[in-house]
């Protein structure tokens, strides 16, 4: 995908393309604004939870830029975003739908969240699993340290201050959300049905959009790993491996949801990173989304390991991948393995990023716990 974008960039600087690219460009800017607003929400929630745990003094929160600003800047200045925008890819639109969904859920605009979710699912199917973080977001509010911690804290102080406790899980907004999601999906489907009447109706649409995504029919090279695998695999195993690869995503949903249920936005980030790694036709636009969202958790992930290594890796791979593609397609001196090697390295980098991100987040929670429970002991001694 990357070299394609580069090539298009070279001969696409013409006026008639400007209109399309303007739409994509506006989409990106709008996404960045939504990311910023959501980031500010998250930051308020973070500060609130720190306050209620009396940890404001111990924890340095970066004051130069708030996490929302950082996330928006990362999203806008990320070369991946720029390349996806210049290449007139549709991924900025898909990204915007996802961000819209998260923004709506964070600021409790249930119809907006439902709309974002329905559109994102309609556009690229994979965001369907974001329903879990959205439910958590609506049910118990944005990211906070584990609820257990608050309870412990207040038991120690033996003053049960209800106002400082995070809210419990409430079902009302979720029912609202379900209602709205149903409404929007019916609406979208009806619209699609009307507009696609002469092209074979809605069933044809399902087959050639979701079916196309799920059966990995197009094996042209991209930065993912599936094209190579399904080009190599024997035909009679194909269905089996299709199931294996898609179940792979589903398998990871539940454990992560249980472990990270107190941090729904981070859960959403992890889900997005996972499906942009395992989806059938990944592009750099998907990476741009989760790298941007990473900026939300700049305070929590400050101690993330391998940051430098990951940076170098992303940098190197994004340069090496077009060169390998060039060597294979244009110069004919390389072969598919050259390019696939970079795709594998890229996948490994994404795995490391997710693993390190999750472990840094869990470490952060552990640190908060130590701070809340350990401090009285220190004071005594």
């Amino acid at each position: 995908m990357v070299p394609l974008c580069y090539c298009r960039f070279l001969d696409r600087l013409q006026l008639r393309e400007l209109k399309d690219s303007l739409i994509i460009f506006c989409t990106d800017v709008f996404s960045a604004m939504l990311i910023r607003a959501t980031g500010q929400n998250l930051r308020l929630a973070y500060l609130f939870s720190l306050e209620s745990l009396d940890l404001v003094k111990q924890i340095e929160v970066s004051e130069i830029l708030s996490s929302g600003d950082i996330a928006a800047l990362i999203y806008l200045w990320n070369p991946f975003t720029i390349v996806a925008c210049v290449g007139l890819s549709t991924s900025p639109v898909e990204n915007m739908a996802v961000i819209l969904c998260l923004y709506g859920a964070c600021s409790r605009l249930i119809p907006l969240a439902a709309f974002g979710w329905v559109i994102a699912t309609h556009l690229s199917l994979y965001p369907a699993i974001l329903i879990i973080p959205v439910i958590f977001l609506l049910g118990c509010g944005p990211d906070a340290p584990p609820r257990k911690l608050f309870l412990q804290r207040h038991q120690q102080e033996e003053v049960l201050n209800q106002s400082k406790l995070p809210l419990g899980f409430s079902w009302r907004p979720i029912i609202h959300f379900a209602f709205w999601a149903l409404l929007w999906s019916v609406y979208v489907l009806v619209l699609c049905g009307i507009s696609l009447k002469q092209f074979g109706g809605i069933w044809e649409m399902f087959k050639s959009t979701y079916g196309f995504i799920l059966t990995v029919e197009d094996l042209s090279p991209n930065i993912g790993v599936l094209w190579y695998f399904f080009a190599e695999v024997f035909d009679f195993f194909r269905n089996f491996f299709l199931i294996v690869f898609h179940v792979n995503i589903i398998f990871m949903i539940l454990p992560l949801a249980i472990r990270l249920c107190h941090r729904p936005c981070f859960l959403a980030f992890v889900y997005i990173a996972i499906f942009s790694m395992l989806k059938s036709y990944p592009s750099v636009g998907d990476s741009a989304l989760y790298l941007g969202l990473l900026g939300w958790f700049v305070n929590e992930l400050a101690d993330m390991q391998f940051s430098f290594f990951l940076f170098c890796g992303y940098f190197g791979v994004s340069l090496l991948s077009p060169v390998m593609h060039n060597l294979w397609i244009w110069r004919g001196t390389g072969n598919a393995n050259f390019y696939f090697a970079t795709a594998m390295v890229y996948a490994c980098l994404q795995i490391i990023l997710v693993v390190e991100g999750v472990s840094a987040m869990l470490n952060h929670d552990r640190k908060l716990r130590n701070l809340t429970t350990g401090k009285p002991r220190d004071a005594k001694s």
């Binding site: 391998f306 340069l319 060169v323 004919g332 490994c348």
Partner: protein
């Protein structure tokens, strides 16, 4: 790199049980100095071992079957060729004003054979600065402005349709010919091509069309061939050509052929095409030579160090040596042949080989000292021409379209009698015939043998799997040293942090206070990024300079240096000054900068090794020691020991040598003698690099120069 980094960082947390592989990583990082010395020495040594490790070439593609058929080229064809040579030389004596006469003669000869003949007109295209040419496909060229008729070149193209083929594939034979001042050599090359062509018009085994291109080399051989190829590969549907022909009357003369010729009907002024090209041979005869036997020299390097498939060279080499008894040679760096240190090295390797053979008779890697010296000279020239990234002949134009092509230059034994000419025609013609017959057998395009190799002699090569070892050894210390520096710097940062922090959380500070510890490298990364940005600006400046009319190379170079320094100062004052006050807080900032620099150099060299290996190898030889040794001079001066003093001297010398212009002058002085070196030479060299769209230019501007600047920054660091 991944492993080492991972290991290095897991080093930070003391764990009760450490896995063996992690322990190995920690060991490597802890002994990074030793490891880097060993690896670098091994890398340089492996480079010198390459001629010893070279393997004999073999023909990998079975379908080629070179020499399986006896040559059919007979005296009758040679006579026809001789007739054409005589006609051309005599018409040359008549000296027609535009050389149109000789083109007409060639076209008539082609038509007489029953081949399709056509002419192709092209404009001379000036080389344009096109930095990302490497990534894009060759374009159809910029739409021409108004050219006068005088800047036309005329290629003559003859095509034989294969009786057994479906017209989807073709083999190309190119003979550069300058009608204005052609010597006997060029006429002879056309004679050889014609005798082969006349044979091929009769044979029945032909399965691929034969295209014979007589390239008008008055604007350079490469320009003519690349112009023809561009038009061949990118069909134009405009009526530009007909308009042009009307404008220029003398070209119309050629169309008279249509009327004159009796066999007629096959001559056309429109562009003629055959199928996709399987291979191309460029044939040249050099007339003035002082060889003692008939020799063929092979030129294979195309742009950016790309080589044709090794099988093509193998076929030519096999047929020339074993069938025609010609002596085959490839380019050598002659100055290396007489160097005494290389001879000593060769003798050492020879005696080592003998010792190894006495230990186990099956080990046969010993080569004689003279062989070693010759192999090294050939390897050095192979590396040099690949690293330059300029094609060594018209064959380079073919490689841009993934067509394998080589240039064969026939150097006949010195003599002047006519019999010799026929002999040259016969042997050269049979060689070409054999090669064409082999390529004709191909079922697919060349893919069996190597594309990535270095030649140490016409029949010996070093494949990518071998020479990459030398390169990998050379750059292996980079990630290790970067990791160790990074670990040192970040642990030091943590320590200083813990000293400053309040004693309330003294028990486990690292766990309690939240720092941006793991993101400390961002500042250094910013600096490195800025310097690379500056590098990009510097490499774009010549585009502006070459717009200035009437500039001598020396002044252009001076303007370039001035503008670069100006842009550096601007960037520094605008972007980097707040950085300098931020970095005062960290004592070991230089270590982080060095770590990031080394990582960026590692990425750059790795990238370049894929694009153009030879450039990366030479760059690594210069940059790796400089990067690894760099250390603030102030620290060394403060230490005052002998070791730090010698390191300081080494740093200064490397800092001087590795500066790109300095390295250029040094290399040029070593090869050509220091008398010819002047400042403008560097500009001319750089201009040729970017005019030919060599990736080496980008490498120097965006990897080498920034690396040098960063190393100087580290050397002058105030810590």
């Amino acid at each position: 790199m991944a492993d080492t980094k991972e290991k290095s960082e897991s080093n930070e947390k003391p764990k009760p049980r450490i896995r063996p592989i992690v322990r190995l990583g920690i060991f490597l990082i802890a002994h990074s100095f030793l490891v880097s010395v060993v690896c670098c020495t091994a890398g340089v040594l492996a480079l010198f071992l390459l001629p010893v490790l070279a393997k004999n070439t073999y023909i990998s593609e079975n379908a080629l079957m070179p020499g399986s058929a006896s040559p059919m080229l007979a005296n009758q064809h040679v006579l026809e060729g001789n007739r054409l040579v005589n006609d051309l030389t005599s018409s040359n004596l008549k000296s027609s004003e535009t050389g149109i006469e000789s083109q007409r003669i060639i076209a008539r000869y082609m038509l007489d054979l029953g081949a399709e003949a056509s002419i192709h007109k092209f404009h001379r295209q000036l080389n344009h600065f096109h930095p990302l040419h490497f990534f894009s496909s060759p374009d159809s060229g910029i739409i021409e402005e108004n050219y006068s008729c005088s800047s036309y070149g005329i290629n003559t193209v003859g095509i034989i349709r294969a009786p057994r083929g479906d017209g989807k594939e073709a083999i190309v034979l190119v003979t550069p010919y300058n009608a204005l001042k052609s010597g006997l050599g060029e006429a002879l090359s056309i004679g050889i091509a014609y005798s082969v062509f006349s044979l091929l018009s009769q044979v029945t085994w032909l399965a691929k069309d034969i295209i014979w291109l007589v390239a008008d080399s008055r604007y350079g051989e490469y320009a003519a061939v690349s112009a023809w190829l561009r038009d061949y590969q990118t069909p134009k549907f405009s009526s530009l050509s007909t308009l042009d022909a009307e404008m220029c009357p003398d070209i119309d003369n050629l169309y008279d052929l249509k009327v004159n010729s009796i066999t007629g009907s096959k001559f056309s002024s429109s562009f003629k095409r055959a199928g996709t090209m399987a291979a191309a041979l460029v044939l040249k005869v050099r007339n003035k030579s002082d060889q003692f036997e008939d020799t063929i020299s092979i030129y294979a390097e195309a742009s950016n160090g790309q080589m044709p498939n090794l099988d093509l060279i193998n076929v030519v080499n096999y047929l020339a040596v074993h069938r025609q008894g010609l002596h085959v040679k490839v380019e050598k760096l002659w100055s290396l042949l007489n160097s005494s240190w290389l001879k000593i090295l060769g003798e050492i390797f020879e005696s080592l080989g003998k010792v190894a053979k006495s230990l186990n008779p099956k080990w046969k890697f010993g080569i004689t000292a003279t062989e070693y010296v010759e192999g090294t000279a050939t390897l050095a020239s192979s590396l040099y021409y690949q690293a330059l990234g300029l094609p060594t002949g018209p064959h380079g134009a073919f490689r841009d379209y993934q067509i394998d092509a080589i240039t064969l230059e026939i150097l006949p034994k010195f003599s002047s009698d006519k019999v010799r000419h026929s002999d040259i025609l016969l042997r050269g013609g049979r060689l070409i015939e054999g090669v064409i017959r082999s390529v004709n057998n191909l079922l697919e395009k060349f893919h069996q043998s190597f594309f990535l190799y270095l030649l140490t002699s016409p029949s010996k090569f070093v494949s990518v799997g071998v020479y990459m070892i030398a390169f990998a050894l050379l750059i292996a210390p980079l990630p290790i040293v970067a990791a160790s520096l990074y670990v040192d710097a970040s642990s030091l940062g943590n320590c200083s942090k813990s000293d400053k922090s309040t004693p309330s959380a003294s028990l486990d500070t690292d766990e309690h206070s939240i720092t941006i510890g793991s993101w400390m490298w961002l500042n250094s990364a910013k600096l490195v990024f800025l310097v690379h940005l500056w590098g990009a600006i510097v490499s774009l400046i010549p585009y502006v300079i070459c717009q200035i009319p009437d500039c001598t190379p020396t002044t252009s170079f001076m303007i370039w240096v001035l503008l670069s320094m100006l842009s550096f100062l601007t960037l520094y004052s605008v972007l980097a000054s707040p950085l300098s006050c931020a970095k005062a807080s960290q004592e070991k900032e230089w270590a982080l900068v060095k770590s990031v620099t080394i990582s960026s150099v590692f990425i750059g060299l790795g990238l370049m090794s894929v694009i153009n290996f030879a450039t990366a190898e030479i760059g690594a030889l210069l940059m790796v020691p400089m990067c690894l040794l760099a250390r603030p001079l102030k620290l060394d001066v403060r230490a005052g020991t002998l070791r730090s003093f010698s390191r300081m001297i080494g740093n200064l010398v490397l800092g001087l040598i590795a500066f790109p212009p300095a390295a250029f002058f040094l290399l040029k002085g070593m090869l050509d003698g220091f008398g010819s070196v002047n400042v403008g030479a560097f500009w001319i060299w750089v201009e040729s690099l970017w005019a030919w769209n060599s990736a080496t230019y980008l490498f120097i501007g965006m990897v080498h120069l920034p690396c040098w600047v960063l190393c100087i920054h580290i050397l002058l660091h105030t810590c």
